[in-house]
Structures are given as C-alpha cells and as structure tokens.
Amino acid sequence: MDDAETKLRALPEDARTLLRPLIHTTWRFYLAASLLGAVTLWGIGAYVLQFRHGLGETGLNRPEYWGIYIIDFVFFIGISHAGTLISAILRISKAEWRRAITRSAEFITVLVIGFGAIQPIVDLGRPDRLLNIFAHAHLRSPLLWDVMSICFYLTASTIYLYLPMLPDLAIIRDAEIKAPRFYRFLAAGYRDTPEQRRRLEKVIGVLAIVVIPIAVSVHTVIGWIFAMTLRPMWHSTIFGPYFVVGAIYSGIAALLVAMVILRRVYHLERYFKPVHFDYMGRLLLLFSLLWLYFTFAEYLTAFYGSEPAEMRTFWARISGPFAVPFWLMAFCCFVLPFALMCRKAMRAPTGTLIAGIAVVIGMWLERFNIVVPTSVNPRFDLEPVAHYFPSGVELSILAATFSGFILLYMVATKFFPIISIWEIREGREVSVREVAERVADYLPTESAEAA
C-alpha cells in the first residue's frame, strides 16, 4: 500500500487526484457496499423463489400482465441514455465543458443497460426458453426489434466507454499502482504515441456519431412495444419520440445525482465545477419543458378525441385510482425541476441533486403510469377493471436492481478513473489554445482596407 502511495505521489496532479480512489477505500465505502450487496442478494433470493414457483409469485394477473419488471425495463434503459447520448452529443458539438463528465456518464450507460436488459428476462414465464428468440425469431414482433437494438446499443456503448479509456488505462499500467496484469491486459499495448493518439481520436469521432442513431433507436423501439398494440393510450404515434425525450431527461437527472455524489465522496470539487452544474441544470430545464410539451400533446389528443376506451384509461390516470402517481409524476417531472432550474442559484450541487432525484422518481412514475393504468383497463369493457399490488418478490427485485446498479457503479469507480485523466490534460494542453483560435475564426475577417 505504501509502495502504491509513493508511486501515486510521483504522478502529475490530475492523475494523482483522479487515481486516488483506486488505491484508497474508506470504511464508508465498505459499509455502503455491504448494505447494497445485502439488498442485491435478497433480491436474487426473491428471483430464485419466482423461478422455482412461477410468475404467480408476483402481483400480476389478467389483464394486468405487465408490472414492475416492465416498468423497470423501460426506466433503466431510459437512464442509460445518460451517458452515451449526452457524451456523444457534447463531443460532436465540441462542448469543451464535457471533459470532466463524459466518463461518469458513459459508465452509467454501460452498467445500467445490463440491469435494464435483464428485466424482461425476469418477467418471462419461461426464462429457460430464452434462446427461442433466436431459434424461432419472428421479425414482425417489436420485442425482437428491441432485442436487436439493445444488443447493438450495449455493444456500441461498451466500445464507446472502453476506447476513450485506453490512454487512462495505459497511465495506470505505467504508474504500476494496482493489479499490474489486469491493467496491462486492458491497456492492450497502448503507448500513447502520436500515431496511436491520432487513430484513437479518429475512432472516437466516428463512434460518437454512430452511437447517436443507435441510442435513439433503442428507446424509440421500447416505445413501439407499447404503441404497436391496439391498447388505449398505448396505441399512439407520439410514443417513439416521447420515450426518447423521457429517456434523455431521466438520464440527465441520474447523471446529475451521480456527479453530486462523486464530487462529495471523492472530493472532486475542482473537477465538477459550478459551471458543470449550471450547464447540466440548463439541460434539465430544457428537458422539463420538452417533457411537459410531449405529455400535454399526448393527453390533449386523447382527451379531445374522447374515444370511450381511451377515456377510461385517461380518467383512471387523471382522477381515478392512479391520480396520486399521476399528479406526483407531474410534480416531480415538471413543477419541481422547472421551479428549481429556472433560478441560477439553484443550478448548483444541492439544487441539481434535489431536481435530479425528483426527476428520477418522476420518470419511474411516468413508466408506471404508462404501463399499469392501460393494463388494468382493457379495451373490452365487459371485463371487470383489474387491480395490481406488486408482491414482495417484485419489490425485492426492484430494490435489488437499484442497489445492484449502484453497487456496480461504486465498484467501477475503484477500478477506473471516473473522470478522464487524458482528456483533462488534453484540455489544458491543447484545447484552451484551440478554442481561442476557433472563436477567432468565427469572427468576420478584417477587410484589406482596414489592415
């Protein structure tokens, strides 16, 4: 340990600060990790119970066929839009303030996709027959489109996380502060020669572009799973884009929460600066308005047409049994974040943390409000209206999904620098000058007479 500490001290300042979490772990980390680990194990136990006895262990019924698992599926895949999309868009638009936040965002993406993607498998009546989706693939099924787009997305965002991390992995390898073989393997012989760097940046540039349509497709297709059915309040053309906007919104919120916590526990105040919270807060503000716009458009269209089948679901949400989750969603997704993010003083760590948590909760509720009220109000009106109370098994798996994701994210920060060291350095060494030149280039050229 002392040896690693000496080696760490020998590193330049950025690397020293950012690699410190890799070799120093506090008791608080272990405490939090064991609590989260216990919850995760509890949830795994709940799944074993469900696996042995059947989906009857849930609170699901007919016609309430989809519940917590599908809500979580939509929600977590939505959160995954935090990373890849935000990071790719900021990279392409040459937003220099991105440098400190891209890595933490990309990690959210890669880890959360896994937790999202297992939800429909947890939801399967016959998980043992999962491979039938390849053996008997029916390409007309939106579920299969989803399998494809999630596979693409997971692959692309894993590469998009890994490649920009290569120079940092090489730094850790050369500093020899931790698990030398592991990092020698991961760094894959990267030496940061000018030629390697040039190629790397070229690949990152291409990936950043490729990843955007893939990310958009993922949540569009998830919206389509619902929209392609004839169910009231699901069968809507707005669902594709509505889901994408909601996904990015929840992603930004989750990223803000992660940034505030990382900043606090790893003392990254010098990296996550007021400007980051200000800009991310503005993004959150923009998306709260977009969310309102989409939600309003969706509900007004249903209300104005007032088709009886649609109206049953509509009123169930507005004033019926789902009024509480509905208005809580409206408060968490719009009222609170909008009121907070309007003010500059609130676009700081505390304000964005509150708004971020509210939006994360609100977006979970939005998924709930999409899935459940429609499910319990079937189009066939002779069927009695169903009810749905999630069972202990479902709630345990829900808790385990959250804790498992947070745990994995925590562990990831112990093995990989959560802020890109080389990109910060590049910012200091190259970008400051480049940006000055770029801005100068934007300005009208002086005419020959003036000179």
């Binding site: 009857g56 007919r62 399967l124 998980p127 053996a135 029916h138 007309r140 099924s141 059915t229």
Partner: protein
C-alpha cells in the same frame, strides 16, 4: 379450405355457463384456487360475460359467451417474438405451448383479453384429475394458452371422415361449447360453406362482431338481442 367460425345468438343465451364448464373439462383447463381467482387469475377460454344495466328493481341482465375471436388478422400473432402463436390455414389461431417463452405480449395485444397465462404449474382437484382429456396437451407453468375451437376434435373428425371415405360434414366437427349449449345459441361450422348454418347466419341483419372497427376480422359473430 374451410374457414371455421362461430355464430352466437344472444337471444337464445340464458347465461347458464354450460359452455364454460364443457370447455374447461374438454380442454384440461387448470383449476385455480379461490384466492388466486380473486386476484384475477382464473382461467376460462370460453367465458360468459355479464352486463347489468339499470338499478334495482328496474334492472336488465344480459350475457355474452366470449371464446377466442379467432381473428383473420390476429393482433396476438403479429407481436409474438417466437411465433408461438399462429394462424392455421383453416383460420384457427393456435398456440405452441412448448415454444412459448411467456412474455405475455400476445395477451396485451389481444383487444378481447381472450388469452390466459399459467401463473403457477397447473393443478386440478383429484375429482377432475381422474378424467383429464388425453387428446389435449396439459400446459406447463409460465406459458400462454387460449381457445383453439377444439382443434383436437377437428383432427379426429378429419381422420374419421377419411377412414369412412366421405367428406367432412358439419356435424362431424363441433367444439365442446357448441355441443353443450342447451339452447343451441352457439352455432359452429365453415363460414365459407353454403351448406353450413353459420354461412347464412353470419349474414343475418342482427349479426355483428366485437370491435369490428379494429380490423381484426373476428370469425365469431354475435346475433344481437332483438328487444
């Protein structure tokens, strides 16, 4: 090629639910515990829906037996990721139980809520277990199941007709619900065969289909009540 269909005369239906019971014992439909049934997990491929209008004492009760509508354009078939539910050439929507992965997408896509899920492994009271129908496969836990117009009876009817060297007659193939109906409210046959009663009944002025506007093209017709 026949196109099997059903016409249900609501004027004749007394709501006795003989069709439900006949279907249940014919098709080995699992018996669900009362607490499970209260949760909405009871299974009934053929279900007599009840509608109560007005307040006591001025009430009006009406019934409508609801099997699978056997749509010609079935929304459940489109969405199945593994083609476990399919439309047969004779127009019967079937379910391949050993292939179904239990995602319940088909159940969500069906506007008639006509599909059922096995939340637990199927169970029967001993009295029922003694006479399960050997011609109908028992569904395992975790798969969807549905009305098949008693497809197994069609297979037998075809074999019998072939053995006797004669074409299939209307009376050869009747599903259990139609057989059991004491008022003959349920009429079954080939919708395209002029010799079968359903082919004329379906053109009756009272004939209608559930949610025709959805374009699912059900092959179950209802003759609406006169009064």
């Amino acid at each position: 090629m026949p196109r099997w269909g059903m016409v249900i005369d609501l004027d004749r239906c007394t709501g006795c639910a003989a069709c439900e019971v006949a279907c249940k014992s014919e098709n080995n439909i699992a018996t669900v515990r009362p607490d499970q049934a209260d949760m909405g997990r009871a299974m009934s491929w053929m279900k007599v829906e009840t509608k109560i209008e007005g307040d006591f004492p001025d009430t009006r009760l009406s019934f409508a037996p609801r099997p699978c509508m056997q749509c010609d354009n079935p929304p459940c078939v489109k969405v199945c990721p593994v083609s476990a539910t399919y439309l047969s050439p004779e127009g019967i929507v079937g379910q391949i139980y050993p292939r179904c992965i239990g995602c319940r997408y088909c159940a969500n896509a069906c506007p008639y809520t006509a599909k059922y899920f096995n939340w637990f492994a199927p169970a029967w009271p001993d009295s029922e277990r003694a006479h399960l129908d050997p011609d109908v496969s028992v569904r395992p836990r975790g798969v969807m199941e549905k009305c098949t117009f008693c497809d197994h009876r069609l297979q037998q009817a075809k074999e019998n007709a072939r053995a006797a060297g004669r074409p299939l007659r209307e009376s050869d193939f009747q599903p259990a619900c139609a057989d059991a109906c004491p008022t003959r409210a349920i009429v079954f046959g080939d919708l395209d065969n002029p010799a079968h009663r359903v082919s004329t009944l379906k053109n009756d002025p009272r004939a209608t289909r559930l949610m025709e506007s959805l374009g699912t093209e059900p092959k179950v017709y209802y003759l609406t009540q006169k009064a």
